[in-house]
């Protein structure tokens, strides 16, 4: 974690992704270039279906680009690795494990001692406010509760790079705000690199150093907006002139893309 | 199955008249012991002569045949020794005798140090329970003052015995044609025959014959008599032409002629003449009594039943009465 903040952590180089759907080609990404620096917080916004999740999957090593390269710390990515953690858009909890065991899953795989596993699990259960549901199975949780388990599971393994796909989408505004500031604190404290997909432009501006705006299908990077508001950012930040201007600008950019899809 | 007209045209020919022939379905098993007589009769056209249209239905074993009789789909079944137990219990009636089985043998592996029955003590001996070969084994043991308890009995099916004998995993077996021939051919000099049916003709007769249900017998006595008559002629033809019959059976069951020819001595093929004589002097009744004794000894039948209860001597007599 001694890297200075200008080292490139993730380098996405001319990435193209084509899905073959019964003979037809769906171009999900077309020539995406992006450098994410070490300890950088990048948010991605863009209209539904523009390829955000696809890009995240490729960085995670769960999908391979049709052409182009993705490098992590300068090395080509070949499969998933424990230095990257993912919160999936559809949670992907293990339905046969309790909340507690879902969160402990990655820790146990790392051979962590039992009591440490317990301590860590309890800590993240508390962060997402689910301590009293430790023994519940996913089917016994509400939508937002499931999402929080997925967040806790990704946090627990303490990865260098956090890849999050609309992680707060199913949460009420209050829990969302709390988890946002929790995330920012962790990020600042532990020098994580974050790649965060969201539909909430406010959320993007509150969190990110740079907001990547993606264009409609075939997904490309339309623009990258630097957010120069100093951390820590709070609820008051949302009232600032700078914030509102950025918000309007980004909103407008995405709106253009949205219109492009609607034609 | 072709029906060449018979050379021996009898007075019986008239019996059929110009009526349409009666249809009879006959169950048999795919071997010489079971099929030879009826095949001979069909080939020679004897059944036709007696106004019977025979349709053969093949079965793999006695239980299925008996079940088929019970279902009414089959009118007559050719059965081996074992199924007679059911007749004794009153489930079916015997109306014609076919042959006396000679195919059971007790074989042993000389290389395992067995050359007499006595040597079997403590050895692995394969049998299939309830078969006539088991009875031969029992009789042989009895003669030597032993019982099955003195051996290590292994229950096995016939094709298993071949591989087990040749592979050396058993020391002896009680089996029958054609597995016995196969074992002897494969093992050559190492194989020794310890006992066979011929050694115990007094104690055990394994008669095969034709049976039907009580109900059918009552309602169709006439057909049974005609069947029995035709059968007598067929049996007469069978003995001197046994090789020809072997070939016909081989063709019917799609087996190798050579294999079937190997089994041509697997039974005492009774002729009409013998049957007529044995019936008159009571030998046939004795066959059945001795057969029943075998079941009683084995504990299969609790107490003796009069042979007349399940063997329809009246039909046998009526059939033989007109025999030349």
């Amino acid at each position: 974690m001694a890297g200075d903040s200008c080292t490139v952590k993730v380098k996405i180089d001319h990435v193209k992704k084509v899905f073959n759907v019964r003979g037809n080609e769906v171009v999900a990404l077309n020539g995406v270039d992006l450098e994410i620096k070490e300890n950088e917080f990048v948010c991605v916004v863009g209209p539904s279906g523009c390829g955000k999740s696809t890009l995240l999957n490729i960085i995670a090593g769960l999908d391979v680009p049709s052409s182009g390269n993705v490098l992590l710390d300068g090395n080509p990515i070949d499969g998933p690795g424990t230095e990257r953690g993912v919160v999936f858009q559809q949670y992907a909890l293990f339905p046969w494990l309790t909340v507690e065991k879902n969160i402990a899953f990655g820790l146990k795989l790392r051979g962590m001692k039992r009591e440490d596993v317990q301590k860590e699990t309890a800590k993240y259960l508390d962060i997402v406010g689910l301590s009293s549901f430790a023994k519940s199975y996913p089917k016994e949780l509400s939508g937002g509760m499931k999402q929080r388990v997925a967040i806790a599971r990704a946090y627990a393994v303490n990865p260098e790079v956090l890849l999050m796909d609309e992680p707060f989408g199913a949460l009420d505004a209050q829990t969302r705000t709390q988890l946002q500031s929790e995330l920012l604190q962790t990020w600042e404290r532990e020098q994580k690199t974050c790649f965060f997909i969201t539909h909430d432009v406010e959320e993007a501006i509150i969190l990110a150093q740079r907001v990547v705006i993606m264009s409609a299908r075939p997904g490309r990077i339309k623009e990258i907006v630097e957010v120069n508001i100093p951390y820590p950012r709070t609820q008051e930040t949302k009232m600032s002139q700078e914030f509102l201007e950025l918000k309007n600008y980004i909103w407008g950019q995405v709106y253009e893309e949205y219109l492009a899809v609607r034609k | 199955v072709g029906c060449t007209p018979s050379q021996s045209t009898g007075a019986q020919a008239g019996e059929a008249g110009n009526k349409t022939p009666d249809k009879v379905r006959v169950a048999y098993m795919p071997n010489m012991g079971s099929a030879s007589a009826v095949v001979s009769g069909i080939e020679q056209g004897y059944f036709e002569e007696y106004g019977l249209d025979i349709e053969l239905v093949q079965f793999a074993g006695g239980p299925a045949e008996i079940a088929a009789l019970a279902s009414g789909d089959i009118q007559i079944a050719q059965i081996g020794h074992g199924a007679h137990a059911l007749c004794i219990e009153g489930e079916a009636k015997v109306f014609a005798i076919d042959a006396l089985s000679l195919s059971d043998v007790v074989l042993a592996n000389k290389d395992k140090g067995v050359s007499r029955i006595e040597d079997l003590k403590g050895k692995k001996v394969a049998v299939q329970a309830g078969t006539s070969s088991e009875i031969i084994l029992n009789l042989a043991l009895e003669k030597a003052g032993m019982t099955q308890k003195d051996l290590e009995i292994i229950q096995m099916e016939a094709s298993g015995m071949v591989s087990a004998m040749v592979g050396g995993s058993i020391d002896a077996c009680a089996t029958w044609e054609p597995s016995s021939t196969t074992i002897m051919n494969q093992m050559g000099d190492s194989c020794i025959t310890l006992a066979g049916n011929e050694d115990f003709l007094e104690q055990a007769t394994f008669a095969s014959g034709y049976i039907t249900t009580d109900k059918y017998a009552k309602e169709n006595k006439d057909i049974l008599v005609r069947f029995a008559k035709a059968l007598l002629k067929a049996q007469d033809y069978r003995n001197p032409h046994i090789e020809e019959i072997c070939k016909a059976v081989a063709k019917l069951i799609e087996a190798d002629e050579a294999t079937i020819l190997d089994t041509k001595n697997g039974a005492k093929w009774l002729t009409g003449e013998e049957i007529k004589a044995s019936l008159e002097d009571g030998t046939i009744k004795k066959y059945y009594e001795s057969q029943q004794q075998v079941f009683i000894n084995a504990g299969r039948i609790p107490e003796p039943v009069p042979v007349e209860d399940y063997v329809m001597f009246d039909i046998m007599e009526e059939a033989t009465s007109s025999y030349k």
């Binding site: - | 795919p30 299925a64 008996i66 016939a158 597995s179 799609e254 087996a255 190798d256």
Partner: protein, 252 residues
């Protein structure tokens, strides 16, 4: 490594099989195991005299008829068992009892019940495959995601609709397993089924040949049954590709 196509693997398997076969037939097992040459000779002979086709076509008819009836019957039964408690209570113990009984054991009963014509063979095969199918599909019915059923109900689906339009497609993987194992059951029961009085059929052919120690024919019969099985598997594969394209799975 991954570039080697399926065909190559099948070829390797095939050649290994033939070599192994030849070796076994040359060992002491040769008594009960005819050599490839013997089997081919038998095969040629039986093709020449026209009997092989007859055996195959009789058996094939029985297997297909028995299995098809079982398939048609098992799906609604499995569904009713999953859906209506009384039906389950009434049927389940029977299925559980009968499915563990060797088919050989109930053959006499079937002969008495339905006679010795084609019906008895088809019945034996029907029972064997029906039991396998029902057990499998019932598990499939039980495993259907409850939210999908809720969604269908909300859209106005009757129990019938739910069965045909939700439970059946959602249980496709189970129906496929059931089909595979049901067909296997049909084929492995063929010999038993043809004990019920037949003069044609592969099972009868094997049975007779085995009684006569004609191991070449026995093996020929077995191989033909095996090949029929593989052909049926090809068909199931074809169905599988058509039916489970929607599934999101790891294995391609």
């Amino acid at each position: 490594m991954n570039k080697i196509s399926d065909k190559v693997w099948i070829l390797i398997s095939f050649v290994t099989a033939i070599v192994l076969w030849q070796l076994i037939s040359m060992s002491e097992a040769g008594v009960v195991f005819a050599s490839p040459v013997e089997v081919i000779e038998k095969c040629i002979k039986k093709i020449a005299d026209g009997t092989l086709w007859l055996h195959i076509s009789y058996s094939l008819f029985r297997v297909i008829a028995g299995f098809s009836l079982a398939f048609i019957a098992s799906i609604p039964v499995a569904f009713l068992m999953g859906w209506y408690r009384p039906v389950r209570g009434l049927i389940e113990p029977w299925i559980q009892f009968v499915r563990n009984i060797p088919p050989l054991a109930y053959i006499p009963l079937i002969i008495v019940g339905v006679g010795v014509d084609e019906r008895s063979k088809v019945t034996v095969i029907f029972i064997a495959s029906f039991l396998v199918l029902v057990v499998t599909i019932y598990q499939g019915v039980r495993s259907v995601d409850a939210t999908l059923i809720k969604a269908a109900k909300i859209l106005g689906a009757s129990d019938r609709d739910i069965f045909f339009k939700v439970v059946m497609p959602a249980s496709t993987p189970f129906i496929l397993v059931g089909t595979r194992l049901g067909l296997s059951a049909a084929l492995t029961t063929l010999v038993a089924a043809e004990l019920t009085g037949a003069s044609k059929g592969l099972g009868m052919m094997i049975q007779t040949a085995s009684g006569n120690y004609d191991m070449g024919t026995v093996l020929l019969g077995i191989i033909i049954i095996g090949i029929i099985g593989m052909a049926m598997e090809k068909f199931v594969r074809f169905l599988e590709r058509r039916l489970t394209g929607w599934q999101e799975t790891h294995v391609q």
